[in-house]
Amino acid sequence: MNRKIETESDVVIFPKKTMDIVKRGLARRYRSERRFKFLGLSAIAASLVFLFLLFASIIGNGYTAFWQTFIRLDIDFDPQVLTEDNLSRANYSGLVKGSLHTLFPGVSGRQDRRAMEGLISKGAAFELRKMVMNDPELIGTTRSIWLTADDDVDMVVKGHIDRSVPEIARRISDLQLSWIDTLSDQGRIRKQFNTAFFTNGDSREPELAGIRGALVGSFYTLIVTLLLSFPIGVASAVYLEEFAPKNRLTDIIEVNINNLAAVPSIVFGLLGLAVFLNFAGLPRSAPLVGGLVLTLMTLPTIIISGRAALKSVPPSIREGALGIGASKTQMVMHHVLPLALPGMLTGTIIGMAQALGETAPLLMIGMVAFIVDVPGGFTDPSTVLPVQIFLWADSPERAFVERTSAAIIVLLGFLIVMNATAVFLRKRFERRW
């Protein structure tokens, strides 16, 4: 509200009444500024609280998965069982069972014997087989070997199974608990770092399950995505920004690219199923097809961020290049593109981080499957890390709950590293014009 100041001179004097009005309003203005600041800070605080809760719950559930319980048994590598001609098919589980019987003589009855043999993981027999195949000198000796314990024993030792609950409501019987206590008193139980988690492929036995297959599959898929989406995305961005004529067709292309960025990811999976699997006949569940589908998904991100990077290069660079005699192509390729590359790189890394966490499009092309063998190439069936997490989250065994959280920790770790790299690169190489 403009109040006409009535004065005789050129100097503007505010009458006392105005100052009073201003002073009264000042307090309200300060209050509303403080309120606004408070709202902003509390929004940040709320999101930090949620972030903290997310990390706390995942890390709280998952950190125990990085340790695995092992039981020390004295294995007698009986040369009568391990004959020269049948080393790979010999009865290694018999060796394990024999050692357990020596430790706990007097266990009779089918149920009790099975309960005792169930203390050791089924994978222990395969661990022994690997040891003997690598070093046949072991045959005929007796050694103390640390073998992987069964997942129920692992859960008891870690405290995830409540011992105070009545026996009928537990997976571990009182008898098994007494054996575990005896073994613990004899110093035969210890927790070691769970290397199997990083070296094994998927398994139905939680103590043998690992993320190696998923990590290698993710790696191959992301390589394919990067090799395809980066050149195509950068080339499209350069064309659209520098060379495309400003007509209707270019507008339609731009609108479509912007829309593609918002399409739900499962639609790309359906497209992949129809074109890559049914029409082109590519192998199902291969990282090659997964990479192709994810390329389609990340292209809009790379194109849009690439165009923004190119737009940010000032006209003076372009005009300077043209001024000293460079052709248009030379100007774009030698002058503009190198300067815009850091921004494009940032967009690519963010696009890759998004692609790393995708599950829905891979569902339709068959990558949501139980695959034990670690993939060896681009056409072997494989799965990716988020899919592995999804499959483990569905399994009933108690030990998979902690492994699911541990796999989430690994995935989050990768994503944080990738996004941090993007931020670092941006800070280091981007030029502020």
């Binding site: 169930g118 199974i161 590519l282 192998p283 139980f370 989250a393 569905d394 009933p396 065994e397 108690r398």
Partner: protein, 351 residues
């Protein structure tokens, strides 16, 4: 110039896709699809098979029973799956579709039983309920409480409204969505049986089957029945948090979480391993596995995988599948199906 580049590029793409197609024809692993209920059991057999033989571990996808049949019946060839798992028998329409698409020789293998339990948290009292009461509590339209042969929208809000001897708690059931085979089995074994306890509804099954299906297969949508998705671990967690709610899922999840949840007694029978095995627990269904005979000689290891599944070490009462929560078949059935799969007996028709 541009045209030349385009032609060369198109040629390269077509050539490489032809190469890829031939890479597919050399598929050396078994491809399995199908039921999410059989998935935990099939994966154990596959892993054991991969570890103990020189063949590659089969790849198993959990597509659901219906989705598995669709993929299976698309045709014969390396780009189609070799085996499909199912938590119900194949329907005659599905078998006809298979025949029509060239999948003429289908081998059927029944692998065991699975129970469906109606569970609640151990913090609450165990429930003893009849199938008739479950039907009245969960159906969308129930017989008129005042008598007569018509249906009204379900008016019952608490279990006590349905049957005076049941607790006075709000009806809240977490169950599988319509895409799930578990839901199909639950509807068939519990809801239909509950509906059949009313004579006029039972008569409808012969005279007007679509009306019968409408009454017995439709579950209420007013919030008492909550579709909790396929993730049974999530249902167990929700039951733990809400002691008044009930959940519907397979026996293996009850088996793995006996410290947190308990199964309700249905028609007076408790859901234990023995009760499901001898058939006294009424809500149990058969699990199946279907294979294409035409693929047996093309894909290495297929016969050996089926033999591993049908071996005593796997599906017998002392086998490793029992530890995962599957209920084994009686001796006579195991022998019959074991012999059938050894001969790769073809499934002629389904009644």
């Amino acid at each position: 110039m541009f045209k030349k580049v385009a032609i060369v590029a198109a040629g390269v793409i077509l050539f490489s896709s032809a190469q890829m197609a031939s890479a597919q024809s050399a598929r050396d692993y078994i491809s399995i699809v199908g039921s999410s209920t059989v998935y935990p059991f099939a994966t154990v057999v596959a892993e054991q098979f991969g570890k103990t033989t020189q063949y590659k571990t089969p790849k198993i996808e959990s597509t659901g029973t219906g989705g598995g049949f669709k993929l299976f019946c698309t045709g014969v060839g390396v780009e189609h799956p070799d085996i499909t798992n199912a938590s119900r028998r194949i329907k005659s329409t599905e078998l006809e579709q298979c025949q029509a698409n060239g999948v003429k020789e289908v081998v059927e293998l029944k692998i065991g039983y699975d129970g469906i339990v109606f569970a609640n948290s151990k913090k609450a009292e165990p429930l003893n309920i009849s199938r008739k009461d479950i039907f009245l509590a969960l159906a969308k339209d129930v017989p008129d409480p005042n008598g007569g042969e018509n249906t009204v929208p379900n008016p019952y809000k608490t279990w006590k409204d349905v049957n005076g001897s049941l607790p006075d708690k709000k009806i809240e059931v977490l169950g599988p969505p319509p895409t799930s085979g578990t839901r199909d089995a639950f509807v068939e074994m519990v809801m239909e049986e509950g509906g059949n306890s009313f004579d006029w509804i039972k008569a409808l099954s012969k005279s007007d089957s679509s009306k019968y299906k409408g009454i017995c297969h439709t579950v209420r949508e007013d919030g008492a029945y909550i579709e909790a998705g396929e993730n049974d671990n999530l249902i167990v967690q929700k039951l733990d948090a809400n002691p008044d709610a009930f959940g519907i899922f397979g026996f293996s999840f009850l088996d793995q979480n006996t410290d947190k949840i308990q199964g309700a007694l249905i028609d007076g029978v408790e859901p234990t391993f023995d009760a499901i095995a001898d058939g006294s627990y009424p809500v149990s269904r058969s699990l199946y596995c279907y294979a294409k005979k035409a693929h047996v000689d093309v894909i290495p290891g297929m016969k050996e995988y089926l033999d591993e599944f049908a071996s005593e070490a796997a599906w017998g009462p002392d086998g490793y599948l029992v530890e995962k929560g599957m209920i084994p078949m009686p001796d006579a059935e195991r022998e019959k199906f074991g012999a059938d799969v050894k001969d790769l007996k073809i499934l002629e028709s389904v009644e």
